[in-house]
């Protein structure tokens, strides 16, 4: 049963299994285990980014395609939902049609970019997506009549999902089950379903062919697989899932803006998460996103403290200042591409073998 | 037979997941023309490319003029005195004929006497000296490829199918040129599928199949022995005669 749920792709390492279980259980009971708004915010972010990063892994790890447009698709989903909520009112119907519209637009964009640039070379795709995504971000921030520009959009969500709504008055483990908790469980459940679906996709015949194409596109083509078709389909799938992750973010934050969805920083975060977690493993997305977001939320504070502690030393204190944590992540990123191309998951699996 | 110039001992070459050369033993004596025959996919081109260092042998030993070159990189192998005319000719079509030749003369200057000799050997090289190499016909490109290989005196020239796809008249002049080249001190290792051409200028011959050398000996012997020809090359030659 469990094996079927995971599409036969088990973690294959005791340590990895344990880590994943801890993450799963913590996220499943986050509202009760971790009191405080900040922890719940972090948990929801982790859920959303697991999906976002896993959908990117479908592209990078399984299809061997580097895209810089993943945040664009993420943003399209978020803006779709945001615009629906602000135009047709805070109802669940708005969320559904907004997410569906966002996913559809993302799919069409992905299809166009894929058919257009995947024919030539993977490297071409990377460059084209970088250019298109940047232009899209600029366009969104300039079309302020629609998107609110740099300020983004604030909107209402269905009352059932806001803190004002109480499911029942009793508290469970000292936590009142309000709309925010329901909202969290919406995010958690959809994220879990999307992740399991992605796991199914990569373990399906389609996923296997995708890997064959990645390893030797020439040969796959010769055997008769239409390489462009497989790559484009993967691009579209990954874009749709990213858009749905964006919708979740839009619902959770009740705010959508360029900085939370479209920025290049987020794109780089996704890259870091997928590579450090482990490309082409899906579970790497879980570990990568969790560790990265925890570090982002809590480690930066530590670095800041360490930096001010040695503020007398000029350059060194700058090097470990809180804002410089990307520097060390960058170094870690390069080292992991060289030495641990399969990331944490690959390491853990190897340790067992 | 004189002393060996080039020796391959048990050479294996892998290209990606494919095991192409499976223990090639080949001796190219100094002087004259050695011919490497075999059907498509037998490993002839891979043998030349492995000698040139364009593929690295995974096992075995290659020595040239008594010196081991198995692990050297391509530029060093070239500088040790081996020139290479690849199957696709490797012409720089973006450059002129003159520029192609300039690059082939390793230290820049071309010996005028040698150049005159080449232009006599292959008149189109002189005629189209300042034309873009991309505009040459297939036969002219092949002449340029061979000219590039001989603009500097080299001990050994590896030539991969110089007559492939050429008209009979051009094949004849190419054969004549190679015969003249033989008169100089240069040794030639020629990969060929055209047996008529190969037998007319070859001194020794080796036949490859499935990544192995299946026969090696004098060309005259092979030409005389029709049975042997049929046994060894029934597969490889009839289709190309």
């Amino acid at each position: 049963m469990l094996k079927r749920l995971l599409s036969g792709d088990t973690p294959r390492s005791p340590v990895l299994t344990a880590l994943l279980l801890v993450i799963l259980l913590t996220l499943a009971f986050a509202p009760f285990l971790l009191p405080g708004t900040k922890s719940l915010e972090t948990a929801a972010r982790i859920c959303i980014f697991i999906v976002l990063v896993a959908s990117y892994d479908l592209l990078l790890g399984y299809a061997g395609i580097v895209s810089f447009a993943h945040t664009m698709f993420f943003g399209i989903g978020a803006y779709g939902t945001a615009l629906a909520l602000s135009s047709t009112g805070p109802s669940f119907l708005s969320i559904v049609w907004g997410s569906a519209a966002g996913a559809l637009v993302a799919a069409l964009f992905a299809l166009a970019i894929g058919l257009f640039s995947l024919r030539v070379k993977a490297i071409f795709f990377a460059m084209v997506t970088l250019a298109v995504a940047s232009a899209f971000a600029v366009l969104v921030s300039q079309m302020s009549w629609l998107t609110g520009g740099e300020d983004g959009l604030n909107y209402k969500i269905p009352r059932e999902l806001t803190p004002a709504f109480k499911l029942f008055s009793a508290k469970i483990f000292g936590t009142s089950v309000n709309g925010k908790v329901l909202s969290y469980y919406l995010v958690f459940t959809v994220a879990l379903c999307l992740f399991l679906m992605l796991l199914r996709v990569v373990n399906s015949p389609f996923g296997r062919t995708l890997q064959a194409v990645r390893d030797n596109d020439f040969r796959a083509e010769a055997i008769g697989y239409r390489v462009v078709w497989y790559r484009t389909t993967a691009t579209v799938m990954s874009a749709v899932v990213a858009a749905l992750a964006g919708s979740l973010l839009a619902v959770w934050l009740r705010y959508t803006g360029p900085a939370t969805t479209l920025s290049m920083e987020i794109m780089i975060d996704i890259l870091l998460m997928v590579v450090i977690g482990g490309m082409g493993t899906m579970y790497g997305a879980v570990l990568g996103a969790t560790l990265f977001i925890l570090a982002q939320t809590y480690l930066q504070g530590l670095m800041g403290a360490a930096s001010s502690a040695i503020s007398a030393v000029p350059v060194v204190s700058d090097l470990i200042a809180a804002d410089r944590w990307l520097l060390w992540l960058g170094v870690l990123f390069i080292l992991s591409v060289y030495f641990f191309p399969t990331g944490i998951v690959g390491r853990l699996r190897k340790a067992r073998a | 037979m004189t002393t060996p110039l080039l020796t391959l001992e048990g050479v294996h070459t892998h290209i990606g997941p494919y095991h192409i050369l499976q223990g090639v033993d080949l001796v190219v004596p100094e002087g004259g023309v050695s011919v490497l025959l075999g059907r498509n996919g037998a490993g002839k081109s891979t043998t030349l490319r492995t000698v040139m260092g364009l593929w690295t042998a995974s096992r075995g030993r290659i020595s040239f003029g008594g010196r081991e070159i198995t692990r050297l990189d391509t530029p060093s192998i070239s500088r040790s005195g081996i020139a290479f005319v690849p199957e696709n000719m490797g012409i720089f079509t973006d450059l002129t004929v003159a520029e192609n030749m300039t690059l082939a003369a390793s230290r820049g200057g071309m010996d005028p006497k040698r150049l005159a000799w080449i232009q006599d050997l292959f008149p189109p090289i002189g005629t189209f000296w300042n034309s873009s190499a991309g505009t040459l016909s297939g036969g002219q490109k092949q002449m340029l490829a061979v000219s590039r290989a001989i603009i500097e005196p080299r001990q050994l020239i590896l030539i991969d199918e110089p007559t492939k796809g050429l008209a009979p008249a051009i094949i004849k002049s190419m054969t004549d040129a190679l015969r003249q080249l033989k008169e100089t001190e240069t040794t030639i290792l020629l990969v060929e599928q055209n047996f008529a051409m190969a037998s007319s200028i070859g001194d020794t011959v080796a036949i490859m199949d499935d990544g192995h050398i299946v026969h090696a000996g004098d060309m005259a012997e092979l030409v005389a022995d029709v049975d042997l020809q049929e046994r060894l090359m029934g597969l490889s030659l009839e289709a190309h005669q």
Partner: protein
């Protein structure tokens, strides 16, 4: 041997083929003409055209190294923008240091300050290119996926190092005295600095063209772009050549960074990655590996950006994407696809 056996002949190039070969060249004047029709006012058009050419040439300077590096070794450096930013910061530091020269009312001292800034910036970025090639690029030759990831990582690290050394804020430096202001050409006001940028850009293009066409190194680079294996078989070390080209490309990116910084008068650590969007579009339009294509692509992008910025400011960047799409529909490999003999 009988010479008569070989009939000398040059394959006739048909008229339409020759026209197709020249067609990309006609795009630039065609676009300029279209701009004139759309804008209407000739002096506005002239101002915008000069601005467009200046911008195009600056982008060309930054893009040329990238495209040759790709042509030669199939390496695309997503961290190329780091050299632009570093070049700008080093150059600006020198200009601040030489503040006396830059603000003196002497054209000679002004230009000397800029020249010193450029030379130092190019030296630093050239050396940085050496380190980048050895440490970041060399271990991943031939592996595109890792290359993109690792060079991107290099970009992150370089940007962060700029923050460490120069602080997180944008730096503002006014152009030297004599490069400020405009001159009037009829009714058209043309910024002096743009003319200088056009001058430097054109000189550089001609020098680069000369090097590629008439020097041995240039011949080797062109030959290597087409068939690097054959260049090795002729006895040349392509990797050494590549390192040289990589360093030159990095130095040019540094030069571009200084010039772009002086153009904007403000520099930030991420200016390089911002401008890379245009650089990539230019390289794609021109055809990966082609210097001529890159030159034409850069002019097209520069002109189009300035025209649309005037006509409909919001779509300036999107219009260049549109240009890229149109060109790729016409020629899927870019204006001048580089033929790889492999």
């Amino acid at each position: 041997m009988s010479g008569s056996a070989i009939k000398p002949r040059i394959e006739k190039v048909s008229l339409s083929d020759r026209l197709a070969d020249k067609a990309p060249l006609l795009l630039v004047p065609a676009l300029a003409l279209a701009g004139l029709l759309a804008i209407g006012n000739p002096s506005t058009w002239l101002t915008l055209t000069v601005a467009g050419v200046a911008m195009g040439l600056m982008v060309f300077i930054m893009a040329s190294g990238l495209t040759v590096v790709f042509g030669l070794m199939d390496v695309i450096n997503f961290g190329h923008g780091a050299f632009v930013s570093v070049g700008a910061f080093v150059g600006f530091s020198i200009l601040i240091w030489l503040g006396g020269w830059a603000s003196a009312p002497s054209v000679f001292l002004n230009l000397a300050a800029v020249l010193v800034a450029i030379l130092v910036a190019m030296t630093v970025t050239g050396l940085m290119g050496y380190a980048f090639e050895r440490v970041i690029v060399m271990p991943v030759y031939g592996q595109h996926l890792k290359q993109i990831l690792v060079t991107m990582g290099g970009l992150i690290v370089a940007q962060q190092l700029i923050y460490v050394f120069w602080g997180p804020d944008a730096i503002h430096v006014a152009r030297p005295q004599s490069l400020q202001g405009s001159i009037l050409l009829g009714n058209a006001a043309i910024e002096k600095y743009r003319l200088v940028a056009v001058g430097i850009g054109l000189v550089l293009f001609l020098v680069m063209r000369h090097i590629l066409r008439s020097t041995r190194i240039g011949l080797l680079v062109r030959a290597g772009v087409e068939n690097s294996e054959m260049v090795e078989a002729l006895g040349y070390r392509v990797k050494r050549l590549f390192l040289l080209v990589f360093m030159a490309g990095s130095a040019l990116a540094g030069l571009g960074g200084v010039m772009w910084g002086l153009y904007q008068e403000t520099i930030t650590a991420h200016m390089g990655s911002d401008i890379m969007v245009l650089v990539f579009i230019v390289v794609i339009i021109g055809g990966l590996g082609s210097v001529e294509g890159c030159f034409i692509g850069a002019l097209l992008v520069g002109l189009l950006s300035n025209y649309t910025a005037f006509l409909e400011p919001k779509v300036a960047l999107v219009s260049t994407i549109g240009l890229m799409v149109v060109i790729l529909m016409w020629r899927p490999q870019g204006l001048y696809p580089v033929v790889k003999a492999k």
